[in-house]
């Protein structure tokens, strides 16, 4: 009852607008603390994570990609590209025709990447000193499975010596160093995919490693009347084909497909197709 009234002056003295400003600023909830922030951002994050997990093909690739080292089968590649090819092949056996188709597709993707520096070796040239970064192959003897270590980023020349020690130097400088093991692979004078001298090609024919001998193959070449495909029995290249190759196919790609090989036990398998470029 009848409380002593406060004067306006007393009340005015207690005004403190700065305090109100500070407190109001402190009371403001930052946007990232508000519930309106967490809703949309949370949903966006979940969406991103889910889409990243679902769309990332890396996991799928990792499952399918099997290096030759995992297969633990040895062989000689004959070219640097083969090593790369091997890494993207399926882990299942190469024997499966389906896989061969897959591998053929992969092989085609490397066609354009053969280094131009790979040159025909001089026939009379004696084998150079075997360096750390070269691969040596006895071609007269049957190709023996072996673990191949390719040291890239090295040589500037690729040398192959038929009937003798074959040296191969990888011309294109590559940064990575790979250790790969290769399965049964066909080759012409040690080359799976690339340039081969016509002499080597016709004298050695198509051979393969891992204890297999080529029993038949298809060869697609230009016989002067157009492109033709011949089915050849055995691993040798017939003389009439060699003549056509010499006349019409020097510097042009020749495709060797449906290569069937057999081992001592009589087991047959279809090998990877090759693309060879006969040179003089």
């Amino acid at each position: 009852m009848d409380r002593e009234p406060m004067t306006s002056e007393t009340i005015r003295q207690r005004q403190n607008f700065d305090y109100v400003l500070k407190q109001a600023a402190a009371a403001k909830v930052p946007i990232w603390k508000s519930i309106w922030f967490y809703g949309p951002v949370g949903i966006a994050m979940v969406t991103l994570v889910v889409s990243a997990v679902r769309m990332n093909p890396k996991n799928e690739l990792d499952d399918n990609k099997t290096t030759l080292a995992q297969n633990n089968v040895t062989g000689w590649t004959g070219s640097t590209q083969l090593g790369e090819l091997a890494t993207i092949e399926s882990k299942s056996d190469i024997e499966d025709i389906e896989n061969i188709e897959k591998e053929y597709t992969a092989e085609k993707s490397f066609e354009g990447s053969i280094p131009n520096e790979i040159q025909r070796p001089a026939k009379n040239e004696k084998p150079a000193v075997v360096e750390d970064n070269t691969v040596t192959l006895e071609e007269n003897t049957e190709l023996k499975p072996e673990v191949l270590t390719e040291e890239k980023n090295v040589a500037d020349e690729n040398r192959i010596e038929s009937n003798k020690t074959v040296e191969k130097k990888i011309a294109a400088p590559v940064v990575e160093t790979k250790r790969e093991t290769v399965k049964t692979m066909p080759n012409v004078a040690g080359v799976f995919n690339g340039r081969v001298s016509l002499y080597d090609m016709c004298s050695t024919g198509i051979s393969c490693n891992n204890g297999y001998q080529v029993v038949s193959y298809d060869i697609q070449y230009d016989n002067g009347r157009g492109t033709t495909v011949d089915r050849v029995s055995g691993g040798a290249i017939p003389e009439y084909i060699c003549n056509s190759l010499r006349r019409y196919n020097l510097g042009s790609p020749v495709f060797i497909t449906r290569i069937v090989a057999m081992n001592e036990k009589g087991q047959t398998k279809q090998l990877l197709s090759m693309q060879i470029e006969p040179t003089f």
Partner: protein, 188 residues
């Protein structure tokens, strides 16, 4: 009957207030004129309902802090800004009572009690002030608030309506009914 002089504003002052508000929405420091204008009014409203002077200042500050923080939600509707501040003050007061920081009180001047009893049309009742105070304490909060606003604070019905978020006529009717209930209680 006395009238709150601050409440009665011309159209131009209302428009000026609207400008202050729109500027304060962009820059909180522009809220200063509104604070200066309404601080005393809001403080008196708060202090009327509690005993502790310091708590009343605290609650008043809290009212302006809330107002400034939520100024972006405010929409000008042609009524004084104070009506919005009163609603915030009412909310803050009840919050304060709930937190038991303050006690609900009714500060009454003897002179104002006479105004009520005048409405009763019975001069004999004038003497019994203590009974009237007892009856006031027994009133419901809504009725007490209407009596308080109209007879102790001398506010116009229009302002009461804006504070309580009802129409002027509704405020008048409600106040009349509250007074009737007080009278009934008093005459028991």
């Amino acid at each position: 009957m006395a009238v709150n002089p601050i409440y009665h504003q011309t159209k131009s002052t209302l428009l000026q207030e609207r400008d202050w508000i729109s500027e304060a929405k962009k820059d909180p420091e522009k809220f200063g004129p509104l604070y200066t204008k309404y601080h005393e009014q809001i403080f008196r409203y708060v202090y009327q309902r509690m005993d502790d002077q310091e708590q009343a200042f605290d609650v008043t500050s809290q009212v302006f802090i809330k107002a400034l923080s939520n100024l972006h939600k405010y929409e000008f509707r042609g009524v004084p800004f104070s009506s919005w501040l009163y609603r915030i003050a009412k909310s803050e007061l009840y919050q304060s009572f709930r937190d038991r920081k303050a006690r609900r009180t009714v500060n009454v001047d003897t002179v104002h009690l006479a105004d009520i009893t005048e409405e009763f049309d019975d001069d004999e009742l004038l003497a019994d002030k203590s009974k009237l105070l007892k009856c006031l304490s027994q009133l419901r909060e809504n009725d007490l608030q209407l009596i308080e606003l109209r007879y102790f604070e001398k506010r116009p019905y229009k302002e009461i309506g804006e504070i309580l978020d009802v129409t002027e006529n509704n405020a008048k009717v409600k106040t009349f009914r509250a007074l009737e209930r007080l009278k009934k209680q008093f005459l028991k």
